[in-house]
C-alpha cells in the first residue's frame, strides 16, 4: 500500500547526509534516553536525570564541532541531497550550538529548582530537550513545512513547561495564556503560509523567493501572507504589539522556564525570521522592511517605557526582553537594503543573540538565586542586596550594565552591532531608528539603573533573613559561566565575532552569488 503510494508519487528517497543531521539525531537520542531512564528506574532515576540531560546536551556539541571542523561555514551541506529544504551552514551551526548551550544553562538553573519543588523531573528534561530539538531543527529549516513542524515542536513542550507547577493556579494561567496566544499566532501564520504557497506553488523557501520575485504574484496577497508569517514569529520574539503574553507567562511559569522562554524561544523566533527574510522573502524588502521597522520602533519604545513601571522583576525582565527584541528587529529591518547591510545585520543579530543569552540567563539566575531566599520576585526584595549578599549584587550589576549596553560588559557590543547595521544602511529611516534606539538606551537605564540603585543604595528589607545566600553548585556554575561570558564578550568581542561573522544564509544562492 505504502509502496504503491510512493510509486504513484514518483518518490525516490534522496540521499541523506547523516553527518549533517547528526546533532539533531544525537539530541533526539538524549531526549529518548532521559525519558527511558524514568520509565526504567522510576523514582531512582530522579537524581540522575538532570545530570544525564546536561551531559547529553554537551554531547550534542560533538557533532556540531565535527561539522564545524568539516568546514560547513564555507561549504554548506544539504541534509537531503539536491534539496534546499534542510541546510546546514555556518549560520545554522552556530545557532544550533547556541541553543544547545542555552539548554545546558537552563538545565543548570533547573536542577535544584525542579528537584526541590517535587515536580516530575525526567518529563521536564524530556520536554526541554524536545523543545530544543525544535529549535535546532528550526536553524536549518528552509521549507515552510519544516519551519512549521519545528515551530510546533519547540512550542508544544514549552506550553507544558510553563504550566509545570501544575498545582499553582498562576502557573496554569501562564501556560494557558501562552498556549492560547501561541496557537492563535500559529494559526495566523499558517494562514499566511497558505497564501504564500498559493501564489508561488512551493513550500521551499528559495523557490518561494523566486516565485515572489518574478512579479507575477498578486501584491496584496503577498503582503498579507508575508505579514501574517512575520506576525507568527513576532509573537515568538514578543515584539510589540504581540508581546502581551510574555510578562504574564514569565511571571507565572517557573523561573528557569521563564528564562528558557525569554532566551531560547526568542532566539528561535529570530532564527525563523532570519530564515524567512534572507531565504524566502529576500525580494520583498518593501514589505518586510517597513513591517519590521514598525515592530522594532514599537518594541523598543513601548517595551522600555512599560518596564519603567514594573514591580515584579520577572515582568521587568519580560519587558526588557521586549525592548531587546526591538533592537534586534531594528537591525533586521534594514537588512534588505543591500547584501553588505544584510551581512552586517545577520552578524549583528547573531552576536546579539549570543550576548543576550549570556546576560539574560545570568540575570534570571540571580533572580532565581535571590528568590530562593525571599520567595518572591518583587523588586523590593533586591533592596540592599549589596549589603547582605554583595557577590550576587555585583554579578547582577554586571548583567544589568550589560543589558543597558554599558561597556565593558558584553551588551555594548550587541547594541553596537545594531547601530552599525543601521548606519551602514545609510537611509534616513535607518538613522531615525538609530536615534530612537539611542534614546531608548537611555530610557532602559531608567529601570536597570533603578534596580541597581535598589541593590546598592537602599537598606536591606526586614521581612526576611538577610544573611549571605548559599547557592547550590549548579546555580553557582550558571552564575559564574554567564557572568564570565558577559564580561569576556564585552572586553574581547572578537570571541563572538569569530563565530558570528557568518555568511547570510541562502542569499548567495537566492541572488545568484
Amino acid at each position: 500500500m505504502l509502496a504503491a503510494l510512493l510509486q504513484q508519487a514518483d518518490f525516490v528517497r534522496p540521499d541523506i547526509d547523516w553527518h549533517a543531521l547528526a546533532p539533531e539525531l544525537t539530541l533526539l537520542a538524549v531526549g529518548a534516553l532521559v525519558t527511558l531512564i524514568d520509565v526504567v528506574f522510576l523514582e531512582k532515576g530522579r537524581k540522575i536525570s538532570p545530570t544525564i540531560a546536561g551531559l547529553g546536551l554537551l554531547t550534542v556539541l560533538i557533532p556540531i564541532i565535527t561539522l564545524a571542523v568539516d568546514g560547513v561555514a564555507s561549504n554548506p551541506r544539504q541534509a537531503f541531497a539536491g534539496s534546499d529544504v534542510y541546510v546546514v551552514d555556518g549560520y545554522s551551526l552556530i545557532l544550533k550550538a547556541l541553543f544547545v548551550l542555552i539548554g545546558y544553562m537552563v538545565v543548570l538553573m533547573s536542577t535544584d529548582y525542579i528537584g526541590e519543588g517535587d515536580y516530575w523531573e525526567s518529563e521536564y528534561y524530556g520536554m526541554l530537550i524536545s523543545s530544543l530539538l525544535g529549535m535546532v531543527v528550526m536553524a536549518s529549516a528552509r521549507d515552510l513545512i519544516t519551519v512549521f513542524v519545528a515551530l510546533e515542536l519547540l512550542s508544544i513542550p514549552a506550553y507544558l513547561m510553563a504550566t509545570w507547577r501544575k498545582r499553582d493556579i498562576r502557573s496554569n494561567e501562564a501556560g494557558l495564556k501562552y498556549y492560547l496566544n501561541g496557537v492563535f499566532a500559529s494559526a495566523l501564520m499558517l494562514y499566511g503560509m497558505s497564501l504564500l504557497f498559493g501564489v508561488t506553488g512551493s513550500t521551499v523557501l528559495s523557490e518561494i523567493n523566486a516565485g515572489l520575485g518574478d512579479g507575477t504574484a498578486s501584491k496584496p496577497i503577498v503582503s498579507l501572507g508575508v505579514v501574517l508569517v512575520i506576525v507568527g514569529f513576532a509573537f515568538k520574539v514578543s515584539a510589540v504589539p504581540f508581546h502581551l503574553w510574555a510578562p504574564d507567562t514569565y511571571e507565572g511559569s517557573p523561573t528557569p522556564v521563564a528564562a528558557f522562554l525569554a532566551v531560547a524561544a526568542k532566539s528561535a523566533g529570530f532564527v525563523a525570521l532570519m530564515n524567512l527574510i534572507f531565504v524566502g522573502f529576500w525580494s520583498q524588502n518593501e514589505i518586510y522592511g517597513p513591517a519590521l521597522w514598525i515592530l522594532a520602533a514599537l518594541s523598543m519604545t513601548i517595551g522600555n517605557l512599560t518596564a519603567l513601571r514594573q514591580e515584579n522583576l520577572v515582568r521587568l525582565m519580560a519587558y526588557s526582553g521586549v525592548a531587546q527584541a526591538g533592537f534586534m528587529l531594528a537591525a533586521l529591518s534594514v537588512a534588505g537594503e543591500s547584501l553588505d547591510v544584510a551581512q552586517t545585520s545577520v552578524s549583528a543579530v547573531v552576536t546579539y543573540l549570543i550576548i543576550y543569552a549570556a546576560m539574560n540567563l545570568g540575570a534570571f539566575s540571580v533572580i532565581l538565586s535571590v528568590s530562593r531566599r525571599t520567595r518572591t520576585a518583587h523588586i523590593r526584595s533586591f533592596n540592599g542586596l549589596f549589603q547582605w549578599s554583595p557577590a550576587l549584587a555585583i554579578i547582577m550589576t554586571v548583567f544589568l550594565a550589560s543589558l543597558a549596553g554599558i561597556p565593558p560588559m558584553g551588551g555594548w557590543f550587541a547594541k553596537f552591532g545594531v547601530f552599525s547595521a543601521l548606519i551602514e544602511a545609510d537611509v534616513w529611516w535607518a538613522y531615525v531608528l538609530a536615534t530612537l534606539a539611542a534614546v531608548n538606551t537611555v530610557i532602559a537605564f531608567g529601570y536597570y539603573g533603578k534596580l541597581a540603585s535598589r541593590m546598592w543604595f537602599e537598606d536591606a528589607p526586614t521581612e526576611f533573613e538577610t544573611t549571605p545566600i548559599r547557592l547550590p553548585f549548579a546555580l553557582q556554575s550558571a552564575l559564574v559561566i554567564t557572568a564570565t561570558a558577559t564580561i569576556a564578550f564585552g572586553v574581547y568581542p572578537g570571541m563572538i565575532t569569530h563565530f558570528s561573522d557568518i555568511d547570510v544564509p541562502g542569499v548567495a544562492a537566492a541572488v545568484g552569488g
Binding site: 493556579i169 496554569n172 492563535f184 494562514y191 507565572g252
Partner: protein, 100 residues
C-alpha cells in the same frame, strides 16, 4: 469550479474562527475556533495545490497541520482541565490573576 470559491469559503471559516477565538469565553469553544482557522488553512492549501499543480506538497502540509493540530488540542485540553481542577472554572475572563 473556481479557486476563488474555495478561497472565499476558507476566508469565511477563518473569520468565524477568529471571531470565536476573540469572543467566546469558554476555553473549549476557543480551542474549537482555532481548529476552524486551521481548517481554513487546510482548505486553502488543498485548493491552491489542486489549482497550481503542486498537490503533493499541499497535501503533505495539510496532513502535518492536521496531525500537529491534534497534538495541540490535546495539550490545550490538558491545560483547560488543569485550570478547571484548580479553579473549577473555564471562563477565560476569570483567568486574569497575572496582569499589569
Amino acid at each position: 469550479m473556481y479557486l476563488v470559491q474555495f478561497l472565499i469559503l476558507s476566508s469565511v471559516l477563518f473569520c468565524i474562527g477568529v471571531y470565536g477565538v476573540l469572543a467566546r469565553r469558554n476555553a473549549v469553544l476557543v480551542l474549537m475556533s482555532i481548529e476552524l482557522i486551521l481548517n481554513a488553512v487546510n482548505i486553502n492549501l488543498i485548493a491552491f495545490g489542486a489549482f497550481n499543480g503542486a498537490a503533493i506538497p499541499a497535501e503533505v502540509f495539510a496532513l502535518f497541520i492536521i496531525a500537529v493540530a491534534a497534538a495541540e488540542v490535546g495539550v490545550g485540553l490538558a491545560l483547560v482541565l488543569t485550570i478547571y481542577r484548580n479553579s473549577k472554572n473555564i471562563d477565560l475572563h476569570q483567568v486574569d490573576l497575572l496582569k499589569g
